[in-house]
């Protein structure tokens, strides 16, 4: 009795703090036990259907609204979710999913294997990550609760591809009406089988999710309601978080912002929950443009840049160094690769050998460096640092500022660059997010985050092809280790650091999302241990 009264107060007061929200949406949260969570995000979703849209803005709500066959824990182990069990055939060519019995969609219709089959094929067809489900031939449905995914070749990445952010199970009775799924009206009024049902979206302002009473995991979700406020001004977002108007601020990337939030008494700031996404910050080379087509020049640049200084001094020690194409924290990460320890003499020698002799002014050649606008700390500052660092070995860098993201993407995807800073996500399995950067078959002009380095090494192509179908985990790991060593040796990219993403949560929250997917995973365990007193 005492408890419910307290939560009632919390809900009501929480509502008052959020001026501008219609008051009747708050009345419902009062009474029952769970309370309301307010998330602040600068990422505005185009819509809520993660089956046809990648990116964090959509992944966060999509994973709350839709359930997926599997979910993952903190150490990359698959856990049952919509599928109570799964079985990979000995030949690796089929995966059998047994669905939980009592799962229903938010409109009351049961979740069947038909929905799974429909969703898998829809994602294969429409999701931007083409390699994710490319191996899927078809999905058989011998029983309403059994789905068998048939593969053209073994596809070990499939397990991670069944994560909440990547494989939302859509209701066939809604999306199967013949309309294009990418522009389906239900994408903005989604119905899924996840822990929270969608209630309201005020474009660019906020959206609300409410507890789904018939969620198939008993006793969950623990919260009554989630409000996601979309705040485009990062400073306003920080202030609201400090003042407790926002209880969760995911994806804080600025070192100063992180330090500022860490000082707050009422917040828990953690870097857990990002290994799945595996964001890397790096310097990419146009490997077909002179003089960067010479591997010695690229290696020289790697030796002349001081990764230690960048990570420890420029990024205030908040970022982890990255030495290879697979993000630190992944079980496939190979740490034993060439480190390119800061060595100016070696860099000068390599440049001399490559025939780039210093001119009268000590300069050998002028190169341009681009960076993604908007992310100053990770991108611009490092580019400016590199200009200063490479000058010491006689390389003149001209920093090219792009006024906006499309301009930068246009330049890089059309190979109109010498080098560029870039920020690319691993997305769990290498087949999903890593291969695209190195496969020579993915040199696709005009497409950003394809192999824009135009890096081509038949051996790498071969290893990646083998690793993609290798089902024995240790053999697969060995292949990826070899791949990482070769790529680091060839330097199509100089790896700098893992993007320092942090989540800030109000201290009173329990069951924080610290799995590999963090907030891009159902928040059904999150609860108020001590509800906020505003």
């Amino acid at each position: 009795m005492m408890l419910s009264k307290r939560s009632f107060l919390t809900g009501a007061l929480g509502g008052m703090a959020l001026a501008g929200l219609p008051s009747e949406t708050w009345a419902q949260s009062a009474g029952s036990g769970g309370g309301t969570l307010v998330i602040g995000s600068s990422q505005v979703p185009r819509h809520f259907n993660g089956a046809v849209q990648s990116g964090i803005a959509t992944a966060l709500p999509s994973s709350q609204i839709f359930a997926s066959p599997l979910r993952f824990d903190e150490s990359w182990n698959p856990q049952p979710y919509l599928a109570k069990s799964w079985e990979i055939a000995a030949d690796g060519l089929s995966v059998t999913l047994k669905l939980v019995d009592d799962a229903v969609f938010h409109d009351g219709k049961p979740v069947t294997s038909d929905d799974v089959a429909f969703s898998v094929m829809a994602i294969k067809e429409n999701h931007p990550f083409k390699t994710m489900l490319a191996a899927v031939d078809k999905v058989e449905t011998p029983d309403p609760k059994i789905a068998v995914i048939k593969l053209a070749h073994p596809h070990p990445a499939l397990l991670l591809a069944m994560s909440p952010a990547l494989m939302p199970i859509l209701p066939k009775h809604i999306y199967g009406d013949g309309q294009d799924i990418k522009t389906h009206p239900a994408n903005l009024k989604p119905i899924g089988s996840g822990p929270y049902k969608f209630t309201e979206y005020k474009q660019g302002d906020y959206y609300t999710l409410e507890k789904f009473d018939k969620f198939f995991i008993p006793g969950r979700p623990k919260l009554d309601k989630i409000v996601v406020r979309l705040i485009s001004d990062p400073n306003a977002l920080l202030v609201s978080t400090e003042r407790g108007e926002i209880h969760a601020a995911p994806f804080i990337a600025g070192v100063r912002d992180i330090e500022r939030l860490e000082k707050s008494q009422n917040l828990v700031v953690t870097d857990k929950g990002f290994t799945g996404i595996g964001a890397l910050n790096w310097l990419a080379f146009n490997t077909r443009k002179k003089p960067l087509d010479d591997v010695r020049v690229r290696q020289a640049i790697a030796y002349a840049a001081n990764r230690d200084f960048i990570v420890k001094k420029l990024m205030g020690g908040k970022a982890k160094p990255a030495t290879g194409p697979i993000a630190p924290g992944s079980p496939l990460d190979e740490a034993n690769v060439e480190q390119y320890k800061f060595d100016l003499e070696k860099a000068r020698k390599l440049l001399d050998e490559a025939g780039l002799k210093p001119g009268a002014d000590g300069m050998r050649v002028t190169l341009t460096i681009d960076y993604i606008p908007g992310a100053d700390e990770q991108q611009r500052n490092v580019a400016e640092y590199l200009r200063s660092a490479l000058k010491r070995v006689g390389l003149n860098l001209e920093v090219r500022a792009a006024p906006d993201f499309p301009t930068w993407a246009q330049r890089v995807s059309n190979y109109d660059f010498d080098m560029t800073m870039d920020n690319v996500y691993n997305w769990g399995d290498p087949v999903i997010g890593v291969d695209r950067t190195y496969l020579s078959s993915n040199i696709r002009k005009g497409i950003i985050w394809s192999n824009t380095q135009q890096y081509s090494n038949p051996k790498v192509d071969d290893i990646l092809a083998k690793a993609a179908v290798e089902t024995a985990p240790d053999k697969r790991k060995a292949l990826y280790s070899e791949f990482q060593k070769i790529v680091v040796e060839d330097v199509p990219i100089y790896f700098i650091n893992a993007t320092p993403y942090y989540n800030a949560f109000a201290k009173g929250l329990g069951g924080l999302p610290t799995t590999i997917w963090g907030v891009a995973s159902p928040l059904d365990e999150l609860y108020w241990a001590t509800p906020p007193k505003i």
Binding site: P373, D376, N381, E384, S388
Partner: protein, 318 residues
């Protein structure tokens, strides 16, 4: 139009013109106007004397001179590359870096000294562009009137209704953030006030008797504009040119603040724009270039005011 003003203006007319006019026109009218020539042969010196009498103008001139000298000779005396990382990021002012280092570990003092050169150059060149465009447009439109006037006024109205900072942002975004683009963009968006001023002066002057006299003496349009009307219209234009320098410096700061500065050339605006996110960590990296811009703009404004006082006849008589 007061007669005092007219008589004062006449001395600026070239002596040769006056003579030609005197020979051609009726002697009665001209002699009256020629008389003051004898009284004050050097209006520039009179203006200078007047300028020196205004303490704020002199203070501004000294400050401006000091800043110009610092930007010319400073880089030789303090040859540290402002883009070079010389220490740890966010080092407070100490013996190694007198004004501290910024977020990358670059020397703030070096940035101030070397950046001043870029900022002052942008200010001066952009002001020059402003004045050249503004005076040309204003002179043609004020002198000829008629359809030329309406056309040029329409054009300058078009530029006037565009918010200047936004328009400059568009130009810099289109052509890339380089110092030359930025300078041209600033000039291109701020010439309209100079044009309006010049047009008004030309319209006022063109029907005065001594101009008519010159014309009657056979002076062509080009000659009239350049050698007769313009010298008489010059005082307010000089004042507005001086003020335009200050405006251009602020403009450069504003563009850099919005992230449209040239990242390859250190300037005061760029220092503020890039360091503003870190103002709580390193106040010195923002404060010193901010103070420098403040002083530079203050200096040119004081000088502008001083010149205005010196050449404005109504004030001079007070």
């Amino acid at each position: 139009m007061s007669t005092v003003e007219q008589t004062l203006i006449v001395p600026r007319t070239e002596a040769s013109n006056v003579k030609t006019a005197a020979n051609a026109a009726a002697p009665g009218t001209t002699t009256m106007r020629v008389q003051p020539v004898a009284r004050a042969l050097s209006p520039a010196r009179a203006a200078l004397r007047q300028f020196l009498r205004s303490p704020s103008g002199v203070a501004g001139a000294i400050l401006l001179l000091a800043l110009i000298l610092a930007t010319i000779f400073g880089p030789m005396l303090y040859p540290i590359d402002p883009l070079e990382i010389v220490g740890l990021p966010f080092s407070p002012p100490d013996a190694d870096a007198l004004l501290g280092t910024d977020y990358l570990g670059r020397d703030v003092l070096a940035g101030l000294i070397h950046g001043g050169r870029a900022t002052m150059t942008v200010g001066a060149v952009a002001a020059l562009i402003t004045i050249v465009i503004g005076v040309s447009v204003g002179a043609l439109s004020g002198f000829f009137g008629g359809w030329i006037d309406s056309l040029l006024v329409k054009i300058s109205e078009f530029f006037q209704v565009l918010p200047p900072l936004l328009f400059a942002m568009v130009l810099v975004t289109l052509f890339g953030p380089r110092l030359t683009t930025i300078t041209i963009a600033i000039g291109a968006v701020s010439w309209t006030s100079a044009a309006r001023l010049t047009r008004a002066e030309f319209m006022r002057l063109r029907d005065l008797d001594f101009i008519k006299a010159s014309r009657a003496a056979g002076a062509g349009n080009w000659h009239l504009i350049m050698r007769v009307v313009l010298p008489n219209a010059l005082p307010p234009i000089i004042v507005s040119a001086t003020l335009a320098i200050g405006v251009a410096i602020l403009f450069e700061g504003g563009l850099s603040f919005l992230g449209l500065g040239d990242p390859n050339t250190m300037s005061w605006g760029l220092m503020i724009g890039q360091n503003r996110n870190y103002v709580l960590d390193a106040w010195w990296a923002v404060t010193f270039p901010g103070a420098a811009i403040f002083l530079a703009v203050l200096a040119v404004s004081l000088v502008g005011d001083g010149i205005n006082d010196a050449v404005n006849p109504r004030l001079r008589r007070r």
